[in-house]
């Protein structure tokens, strides 16, 4: 027994992270199973929001979400949609998302937040760091290794960007796991039977469908499909557009609603959407700058609006069925993942397509993180009876004559997967060969996603057509490509220079890691100050309110003076950059107001009791 525990303790802790579009979670495995780690306030979900506060400090999570309302121009959300993408990819999106983009964002987007420029991997790194800290506080030990989940349909650049985010956050990313596959792992824990399972994962910004074969602890993905730009965000934007149009005509504004107003409205719209999953009608309400907007929306209207969005998930589902060579009847179970699967219309559409009642027994917000924790335990050796065999979602090919793509590794190939291809030279004495690698299903290079250009260098100079360079393309278990080349004439490995079409270079990532080390101390202090100020705001507001109460008049003059003194002292240190000082003055104000609070409490209880007697 003792030995077992010592052995267990020796293993490096690996956490599982669900880096979501809307919310992120961190989970770990203990002896009883996977558990989500709550943040200090007890919440399991950490908003995937990052903000640069006016004093330059970067905050993530709940605080950043509050700043989304107060400082929308300094706050970024749904950044997952921008991972591994260039400016040209997101033009449409940016019309609806209020982000400012810096010059030079062709291959990596640079977001302008206050006076800071941040790339999507850096923004995600701040969310990851927040989760890492939560986990460290909860577990009472350093956390340096993680499994991070990604949408199954993420391409190479999007995966690489996620891995970069982990590195920048100081995490050794042992594995990227596809979200639906992770969900099946969590789900498979209590259902040990064999069979075919479809996982329908409809989240905040992405949609995935995966079909798996479960056999004695092996989770073999047969096929996957999806859309990395389809999610609950799209529903929010639909409703938001309608509400904005209403407001423009009702309020007779000369200018469009300002960013703060838009963010408040967005929140109201999301609340209405969410409550429509449980009630037949809901209300979108906004009071802002002396105006009031109120609109009743019923489920029938919502369903009419979102039907096209739900329809867009069904095409990938049918393709996935075709690719796995199965009919709907052969699917034993359908598992629902992601917050958007709470919508009744989504559930009925899935039920109609697969002709079986979908499972919703696990919390759709948490199941991916739980599965990531299981995969983490597989990697650390704690779980030995399970194994994931995942696939690559997109075909990999190279550009050949006339811009045609020659496919080397087909989609839905089990990963790791590889292909070997021979290349030769076209000109006498040629020293370099350039290979353009693409991902996608289309015939022509211009319709596929450019992944990278690989430059094979220092080829032995020989007459044209005599060189024989054998190139091996390898997709690893994370779904990320690497390329090696051998000059068959000399038997020597050929140098390969990679020019990724999208994303950060290794040097850029290294630089960001260094910067984050330098900033870490600074950021941490700034965060503590900010937290202290939030706490100060709360108590000041509460005290202010208490002064309106009869209890205030019941205090002695000396007691009232003591409270006013404590308030002034807190206000004096409020803007100091020392969180300890602020907390100390909060403590004094707390002590000074204790009697006031008690008196109010007694009065409240008295009123309540009186109420029951009548």
């Amino acid at each position: 027994m003792g030995n077992f525990q010592i052995d267990f303790g020796k293993r490096d802790r690996v956490v599982g992270i669900d880096l979501g579009t809307t919310n992120s979670l961190v989970a770990f495995m203990d002896l009883t199973g996977p558990k989500v780690i709550p943040d200090p306030s007890g919440s399991n979900l950490v908003p995937s929001v990052v903000a640069v506060s006016p004093d330059g400090a970067i905050v993530a999570g709940p605080e950043a979400r509050r700043m989304l309302i107060t400082h929308p121009e300094r706050t970024v959300y749904s950044v997952k949609r921008l991972m591994g993408r260039g400016l040209a990819d997101v033009g449409e999106e940016l019309k609806l998302f209020p982000f400012r983009i810096a010059e030079g964002s062709e291959s990596v987007i640079q977001l302008l937040l206050g006076d800071r420029k941040l790339t999507p991997p850096e923004v995600s790194a701040h969310v990851l760091r927040h989760l890492k800290r939560n986990a460290e506080e909860f577990l009472g030990e350093p956390v340096t290794k993680a499994v991070i989940t990604v949408p199954a349909y993420f391409n190479d650049a999007q995966r690489q960007a996620t891995k970069d985010a982990g590195r920048i956050a100081g995490l050794d990313v042992l594995r990227l796991v596809n979200e639906p596959t992770a969900a099946s792992l969590a789900y498979g824990l209590d259902k040990r039977k064999d069979g075919i399972v479809a996982v329908y994962d409809f989240g905040g910004g992405t949609f995935d469908i995966s079909i798996l074969k479960l056999h004695e602890g092996i989770f073999e993905v047969l096929a996957t499909n999806g859309d990395t730009h389809l999610g609950g965000d799209d529903i929010d934007n639909l409703l938001l557009r309608i509400a904005l149009e209403d407001i423009a005509s009702e309020w007779e504004l000369n200018a469009p609603l300002d960013p703060e107003g838009v963010q408040r409205l967005r929140r109201a719209v999301i609340e209405a959407k969410e409550s429509l999953s449980f009630f037949p009608s809901a209300r979108i309400e906004l009071e802002y700058q002396g105006h009031a907007y109120r609109r009743e929306i019923d489920r029938a209207l919502l369903e009419k609006l979102i039907a096209p969005i739900i329809d867009r998930t069904l095409g990938p589902c049918r393709q996935c069925l075709r690719d796995s060579g199965l009919t709907p009847e052969q699917i034993d179970e359908v598992v629902m993942v992601g917050g958007s699967t709470r919508i009744p219309m989504v559930r009925s559409a899935v039920e109609a397509l697969f002709r079986s009642h979908p499972h919703t027994d696990l919390n759709p917000d948490e199941v991916v993180a739980l599965g990531a924790a299981v995969q983490a335990a597989i990697l650390s050796g704690e779980v030995e009876d399970k194994l994931l065999l995942d696939v690559t979602p997109l075909s990999l090919g190279i550009e050949t004559m006339g811009g045609v793509v020659s496919k080397l590794i087909h989609r839905n190939s089990t990963i790791p997967a590889s292909a070997t291809e021979s290349f030769t030279t076209a000109v006498d004495g040629q020293r370099n060969v350039l290979i353009h690698v693409l991902q996608g299903e289309r015939e022509l290079a211009r319709d596929c996603r450019s992944l990278a250009r690989f430059d094979l260098k220092d080829i032995d100079p020989v007459p044209a057509g005599m060189a024989r360079i054998e190139v091996r393309f390898l997709i690893d278990a994370n779904g990320i490509l690497s390329v090696t080349a051998v000059d068959k004439r000399t038997g020597k490995e050929t140098g390969v220079e990679v020019k990724p079409s999208y994303g950060l270079t290794d040097e850029q990532v290294e630089k960001m890691i260094l910067e984050s080390f330098e900033k870490a101390g600074e950021d941490f202090a700034a965060r503590q100050v900010l937290e202290a100020r939030v706490e100060a705001d709360n108590i000041l507001r509460a005290t202010d309110k208490a002064k309106q109460n009869d209890a205030w008049l019941a205090l002695s003059d000396a007691e009232r003076a003591a409270i006013d003194r404590a308030i002034n002292e807190l206000l004096v240190v409020y803007h100091a950059e020392d969180h300890r000082l602020i907390l100390q003055k909060i403590e004094s104000l707390n002590a000074a107001t204790q009697k006031l609070a008690e008196t109010m409490m007694n009065a409240a209880v008295g009123t309540a009791l009186k109420g029951t007697h009548i």
Partner: protein, 179 residues
Amino acid sequence: MSGYFELLGLPPALTLDAAELQRLFYERSRQWHPDRFARKPEEERQRALDLSSRLNDAYRTLRDPVQRAQYVLAQEGLDAGPQRSADVPPELLEEVFELNMALEELRGGDISVRPQLEAARASFLGMLAAAEARLPELFAAWDAARRRETLAEIRGVLDRRKYIQNLVNEVEKELSAAA
């Protein structure tokens, strides 16, 4: 570099038991998958990555009868090159000629040829099935006697199959474009 059959621990035969193939694949995946080596030194991790990628390539190739046959043909030095499947098999000359005429008319906007094209597609699909139905018998013949004539015959079937498949694809493409 060891061959696909060797990787899976199978004798190099064209006739395969699918259930046994899957069992062996799962068994080796449990041993070689990179997940099993996450805590091992870099060198061992690389080896696992290399080995499991080739195991996956082997399984993908061997579980499909056509890919399996192509692999064995290549191993035996009988490549079914793309130019071979571009030649029209003599017995199909007439049908292909008529098909091309009909396709031309459809492209020109004449939708009255649709039924004819649909019939042609059905007929080609029948030929495809017939060609594939010959494979098990040829596979068994090769496994028993290892005669090169058998391989040449298998290559003939694969070429014909590929040619017909291309025709079917072409017809389907034009039909859906005209729809």
